[in-house]
Symmetry: C2
Subunit: 337 residues, 2 copies
DNA sequence: CGCATGTTTGACATCGTTGTCGCACCGGGC
DNA sequence: GCCCGGTGCGACAACGATGTCAAACATGCG
């Protein structure tokens, strides 16, 4: 009866007539092994189809070669892009990505972090579901390198990658006011407890106040509340709303669908700029003006910062990287008509 | 000097005055431990903030509680949805998902599989980059449970979840022919080596032949070849093309952009049905008719089948699950005008 | 009371790898 | 001839958990 177990390093060593440790050295590209033995051991590994057991390796070396990544929503294109870039960056650094999603709930997020920590991840890239309570630091071991992106966590000592939320929001709002004579602009968004939301609202306010206009924010707790009925009530019953500044992708989608359901036409009845650009924004009628976040870059930079920490090439204060956005002017804000 | 290592089960056992094994039993909800000790050990775990090391657990028990997932493209909404569902299903079964992407390249795919196998994944959910060569079975250990989805692998003994590619394609094509009098319909797609592509083409052919029309397929090796210039040449130089059947999401996006660049209007100059529906398809002008794949369900069912294997409740022949699609008729095919 | 039966418990080996340490060997400088 | 430092290699323990097996203990029955 053959033992059908996968071959281990012990098998390799026996077959090659060397000690276990020497085989291990070859596996780790250690230099102190003679040319001849290295060659021989390599051959045996090849022949046996040897595959190192990363679990065992990680157990002993205290490095799992895995990083965790948590986002609120896996099917939001903003996050998919970030994940894609993060995965590539991780692979380039010889790590795998364990992916999970919080659904935007802090308690789910905590549970997922717990799971990841138990798996001994070497680091964590996270777009937090909440910036207020210090719910991350209580779950995350103090010595685990963490990079937050999109949403920063207050009073924490993590690296963070964001965009110029406030200034970009100001600029988008100002554009509609200054170029297209919008007077009554509303900001529509969800999850007001998020810092990104607050910042974007602040930028919106900046622009309104500078123009001497009264800001009017329409924030709901959860996106599901952005129904056509709600829109009708908020935007049209009292009347006179010129323009909408929508605070993120999900809201934009729902606003667009809602307006269509109400028979209102964007670009004519009402102007719109979306925070978050996406693949087909230019194909809509009217094409959608948007603040484009460099989503892939956000994921890539966050992961890059993480690996800098892991390699020890950075071990000082938390760093903050603020990326620029691009205001993509298309038709929905009134341009190109 | 305090030892700042994270507490281990040995620490817990010592603190609780029991043996290592008894603590282990409590961790694994073994029944044969007295009420009193269980309680005590639980308390100690709580107090010390004990977190089981999943690497060590996995090493000994030969189960990593992780599954691998590989898709060609992380930012394709079809795959994001599938990933989302898979991740939820995995979590419900106490597993994590290690995600990676092949970019559609068989050699990258092999390398990623190798990485995952070394990490001792318990199972693999994969949308293969290639169905022809038997490149999967040569890399995947014979005893690793695998479920393929979207793209089946020929002559392999894996469970598979797909949709009714051929019939759905036939139906979509027939719709344009029968309801809207299309005579010259072309099928546009990429990566003709894929089975899904071939099946969809076959369905398209079925419809054309049944109507006594000559099929005309425009397949390119890679999506990047779907430029406006190429479209112009294929569709308009010889002239007379009525309608397009686009074989997947990426192609649809590029065809839409290309047609716009060429100044051709979908729904008027040329009809279009897309294989793959997406979030904003209904918001386009004209709204896009599409074959909607139940993408979340594909991911969920694939993962569900995998866990059935893992739990041993299924250990027979490979199973094949074929899910229905929905032909969503909007304006681009000529409906509702 | 003795013995069979079943429950609780712990000592020890083990999973597959890497870390520690020490030994043997080599050539070179005194 | 002797000591030295560096290289090449291996024996052994360790990482943190689980599996094995047998001992200790409680219980029920004749």
């Amino acid at each position: 009866m053959k033992k059908s177990h996968a071959p281990t390093l012990v098998d390799v060593a026996r077959e090659a007539g060397v000690s276990l440790k020497t085989a291990s050295r070859v596996l780790n590209h250690s230099v102190n092994v003679s040319e001849k033995k290295t060659e021989k051991i390599r051959k045996v590994m090849e022949r046996l189809g040897y595959r190192p057991n990363e679990l065992a390796r990680g157990l002993k070396s205290r490095k799992s070669a895995a990083i965790g990544m948590i986002v609120p929503n896996l099917s939001d294109p903003f996050f998919s892009s970030a994940i894609k870039a993060a995965q590539e960056e991780a692979r380039a650094n010889g790590h795998v990505v364990i992916l999970s999603s919080s659904g935007g709930y802090a308690d789910v997020e905590r549970r997922e972090i717990e799971t990841l920590v138990r798996r001994q991840i070497d680091g964590l890239v996270i777009a937090p579901a909440d910036s207020h309570e210090n719910h991350l630091s209580s779950t995350i071991p103090a010595d685990l390198p963490v990079v937050t992106f999109d949403e920063p966590v207050q009073s924490a000592r993590y690296d963070v990658v964001t965009v110029t939320n406030r200034e970009s929001a100001r600029q988008a709002t100002a554009h509609m006011i200054e170029r297209h004579n919008a007077r009554s602009v509303v900001a529509i968004g969800a999850r007001p407890h998020l810092y990104t939301c607050a910042e974007r609202v602040a930028g919106y306010r900046d622009a309104m106040q500078k123009a001497g206009l009264a800001p009017r924010t329409c924030l709901v707790q959860h996106e599901s509340q952005l129904t056509p009925e709600w829109l009708e009530k908020e935007l049209f019953v009292s009347g006179g709303v010129d323009a909408i500044f929508s605070l993120n992708w999900v809201c934009t989608i729902l606003v667009l669908k809602g307006l269509r359901a109400l028979g209102r036409q964007v670009g004519r009845d009402i102007l719109l700029i979306s925070f978050d650009d996406f693949d087909l924004a230019e194909m809509l009628t009217p094409s959608l003006s948007a603040v484009r976040q460099p989503s892939e870059r956000l994921g890539a930079e966050a992961t890059r910062l993480l690996f800098e920490r892991l390699k020890g090439s950075a071990d000082g204060e938390p760093r903050s990287l603020v990326l620029p956005t691009e205001l993509v002017l298309r038709e929905s804000c009134g341009c190109r008509h």
